[in-house]
């Protein structure tokens, strides 16, 4: 099936292997997410370690901007719903609606990044930079890395909205699987934000 691999056919690209019940991509993305858990785990570990070691720690809600961040949380949750709806519609064979939902997800990602940029600009305007304090160092590093993940997801969605969508006409099941996989990644990015939001802004 894999056109890139010349005419080598890799088994279980689309259909699941009977004994594991998984197709290759699904196992692959979960392994990747496992490594992402360790990546963000190390950053959370750093946050806890630096915070417990420091004599005082600022209140997140006084230094940062809770209102735009709360809106962003809603935006990200919304995008999580739209991506599962896209997948469900593709499974129903409804390509048009599936595409619309992929588009909405991409739009949500865009809104999230826009609000994030606005928040950053507010911080900069107050003279808050990564070098200002450990709190801001952690804040900019973690949200920055999270933002890069959002950006990565958006690029993939844009691809599936554009050139990548051709696959629907040649190999539907595989295209649907691809949306499932990018969806899993996108939910993980949402999940990270669910933990970042209270730890940085509310505690």
């Amino acid at each position: 099936m894999d056109h890139a691999a010349g005419h080598v056919e890799i088994p279980y690209t689309v259909s699941p292997r009977p004994d594991t019940g998984l197709y290759n991509g699904k196992l692959g993305i979960w392994l990747f997410l496992a490594s992402e858990v360790m990546l963000f785990g190390a950053l959370f570990s750093s946050l806890i370690l630096i915070r417990t070691g420091s004599p005082s720690w600022p209140h997140g809600w006084e230094e940062l901007h809770v209102v735009p961040a709360t809106i962003n949380t809603f935006v990200l949750i919304m995008s999580s719903v739209t991506v599962v709806l896209a997948w469900a519609n593709l499974r129903l064979g409804n390509f048009k609606l599936g595409r619309i939902f992929i588009g909405v997800t991409l739009l949500c990602g865009l809104v999230f990044m826009g609000i994030k940029a606005y928040e950053y600009s507010l911080s900069f305007a107050h003279g808050h930079y990564p070098s200002t304090s450990d709190f801001f160092a952690i804040y900019f590093t973690m949200t920055g890395l999270h933002g890069l993940h959002v950006l990565g997801g958006m690029i993939v969605f844009a691809y599936f909205l554009g050139p990548g969508s051709k696959m629907w006409h040649t190999d539907r099941a595989r295209f649907t699987n691809r949306i499932e996989i990018v969806g899993l990644y996108w939910h993980f990015v949402d999940l990270v934000w669910i933990f970042l939001f209270p730890t940085l802004y509310l505690l």
């Binding site: 088994p11 360790m38 630096i50 590093t141």
Partner: protein
């Protein structure tokens, strides 16, 4: 419920769904043919540069990693010249340039750069890519009977993250203020305030980590999903098991270092102070940073990777040695199941021992007891594996081929390396030995005459598979004996130096310290001469390797597909399997375990390949006394 419409195709009436199926199948066949045709005119760049074939990527990894290995070795030669004869001018030193070695005398700063780059190159650019990227890539799909890796494009991306990462790191040699110089461990705060070379090091590391992340996902999915029919987990060759556990270590241990690299990069570029405590004074001036960071955070994150990394270095080596030993003793491995369980346990435990590298950071008793305990526990599975390999020799009719010589040397060498590690795992003895040459001797015994010898065993063993030619046996033996003697000449005296209290990373090898001067002056010149000897004894290997590779390229193939009479599936594929054609003419079906040497079932040879079909013996009248093994 369902709509069933009939369609006429030719003279047949079919239901819509059947017709569609038939059409799609026809289309698929046509496309496959078209692709086959296209593949023959595939551009050179897709075939040899951005290849997606696991065998070619394995070769790319192998050649690149061997080049880095030689480069890292040459850096070591320069360091050893300085250590053996401190402060003397050497004309070869002039390659480093006038700002590092004016008049051929190495400067202390340049010595630090060589040390940091030697460690980094050897671990991250040479041995791991050789063990995992080269051997793993080439052999794992062959040994499990798969047509390729599960994600061929990802595999290509993995190599193309590795090479730029390595080149970025090396390019820092061109900087005016030189490369990273804070050791391969890059401890802050020194690394935070070091020159630009450190930034190159960090960016290079991020590329390398990405590369091994992509690789490890690929390996795990390949091994879980693409095993041939009948290849259940307990029939996997031990090498595949070793690669499987190694991939999990890479997958889960590397990301914390990536996080740490990002934090250090932030410290250096955005002037944060994750690793910079308050009140730091550099050259008499207080640092103008926010402070409040913690240098120990780096050590925790670094060793969270770097201890599992040790097992990433050693497990594939054990896998190769197991294959070579089983093949050359002509008998099954002793205790295959215990070796597999030990490997899994080893992999798991390797995540819980990291802070034994940090006993000297003022660690409290609770944590240090915890890590001493886990460290003692982890020695058990290593001993199980090594004992099983030793016991495998018992009663075998050993063929002393060149790969077997290297594999046999691995056993005692790794034994020395492992046993000398025990005193380092206990805080009381570690306080004396920490950061002395004893530590250097310990881990070099594990990695150099241990892992690198296993890599040589693997190269001599699988070279005929890759090229269709055996490497010359006489020059192989010269290479082996020369390397074996010289490498012990370098590393054994390190234990003596370390016990005498000589610290590592000293520019003059300890000559300016009263307690060290005598031992240092007695051992260092000898060690340096051994190092030069080691360099000389690599020449037969290099010539042997390239001569035979070029002969093979000219089509002069001298051996068949299974010259060592081995049982695993890699030998069932044709010799020098063609690129981008899948691996097997017929997908193999696995019928038995990996090491059926001298099997009573085999009638006309002393080995039974995993996929061989055994003719059923003619029915006998008397019932068999023992149940027939399926």
């Amino acid at each position: 419920m369902a709509q069933k419409r009939q369609i006429r195709i030719g003279d047949q009436y079919l239901y819509a769904r059947d017709a569609e199926k038939a059409l799609r199948e026809a289309l698929r066949v046509a496309e496959a043919e078209e692709r086959e045709h296209a593949a023959h005119q595939e551009p050179w760049i897709r075939r040899y540069v951005f290849s997606t074939d696991h065998k070619w990527i394995g070769i790319q990894y192998g050649v690149t990693a061997l080049s880095f290995l030689l480069f890292g070795f040459c850096l070591m030669i320069l360091m050893r010249l300085q250590l053996g004869w401190p402060g003397q001018a050497f004309s070869v030193m002039k390659v480093l340039g006038e700002n590092r070695a004016p008049g051929g005398v190495l400067l202390p700063e340049a010595y630090n750069q060589l040390g940091a780059m030697h460690g980094t190159i050897m671990v991250f650019l040479a041995i791991v890519p050789l063990a995992v990227g080269a051997f793993g890539n080439y052999l794992v799909p062959l040994q499990i009977g798969a047509p390729d890796m599960a994600f061929p494009k990802l595999n290509m991306a993995s190599y193309w993250c590795y090479l730029p990462g390595g080149l970025i790191m090396l390019s820092s040699f061109a900087l005016k203020d030189g490369t990273a110089a804070s050791g391969w461990t890059s401890y802050p705060p020194l690394s935070d305030i070091a020159t630009r070379g450190q930034t190159f090091w960090l960016v290079g590391m991020i590329f390398l980590i990405t590369s091994s992340l992509l690789g490890s996902v690929n390996f795990i999915v390949t091994i879980v999903q693409l095993r041939a029919k009948g290849m259940n987990f307990m029939r996997l060759p031990f090498f595949v098991w070793a690669q499987f556990v190694t991939s999990f270590l890479l997958l889960l241990a590397f990301p914390p270092l990536e996080a740490a690299a990002v934090l250090q990069l932030m410290d250096r570029v955005a002037h944060t102070s994750f690793f910079l405590p308050s009140g730091l004074v550099v050259s008499g001036t207080p640092l103008t940073v926010a402070g409040g960071g913690n240098p120990l955070l780096w050590q925790h994150l670094f060793w969270f990777l770097a201890h599992p990394e040790v097992y990433v270095l050693i497990l594939p080596a054990m896998g190769i040695v197991a294959e070579v030993i089983a093949n050359n003793t002509r008998k099954p491995l002793w205790g295959y199941r215990s070796m597999v369980s030990a490997t899994i346990f080893l992999g798991f435990m390797s995540f819980v021992v990291w802070a034994h590298h940090m006993f000297l950071t003022g660690m409290g008793t609770i944590i240090s007891s915890f890590f001493q305990t886990t460290t003692m526990i982890i020695s058990i599975p290593s001993v199980i594996i090594l004992s099983a390999l030793f016991l495998s020799l018992w009663g075998g009719s050993i063929r002393f081929t060149t790969p077997m010589m290297f594999a046999l040397a691995f056993l005692p060498m790794f034994g020395i390396g492992g046993l000398t590690g025990l005193p380092l795992g206990l805080a009381a003895t570690d306080i004396h030995l920490h950061d002395t040459y004893y530590v250097i001797g310990h881990f070099h015994y594990v990695v150099a005459p241990g892992t690198i010898f296993a890599m040589f065993a693997g190269i001599y063993y699988w070279f005929p598979k890759i090229t269709g030619r055996k490497l010359n046996d006489f020059w192989g033996r010269v290479h082996f004996w020369g390397s074996f003697v010289c490498i012990n000449g370098i590393f054994f005296p390190m234990f003596i130096q370390g016990l005498a209290g000589i610290s590592r990373r000293l520019y003059d090898g300890g000559m300016q310290y009263a307690h060290a001067r005598e031992v240092a002056s007695q051992t260092n010149p000898f060690m340096s001469m051994s190092a030069i000897g080691l360099l000389i004894f690599q020449i037969p290997f290099i010539v042997n390797f390239f001569w035979n590779a070029f002969q093979a390229m000219r089509g002069k193939v001298t051996v068949g597909s299974n010259p060592w009479e081995a049982t695993t599936l890699d030998w069932a594929a044709t010799s020098s399997p063609p690129l981008r054609h899948g691996n097997f003419e017929v997908m193999p079906i696995v019928r038995r375990g990996p090491y059926e040497y001298n099997s009573p079932e085999a009638t006309n040879a002393d080995y039974l390949p995993q996929n061989a079909v055994v003719e059923q013996p003619a029915p006998v009248l008397a019932p068999p006394t023992a149940p027939v093994v399926a």
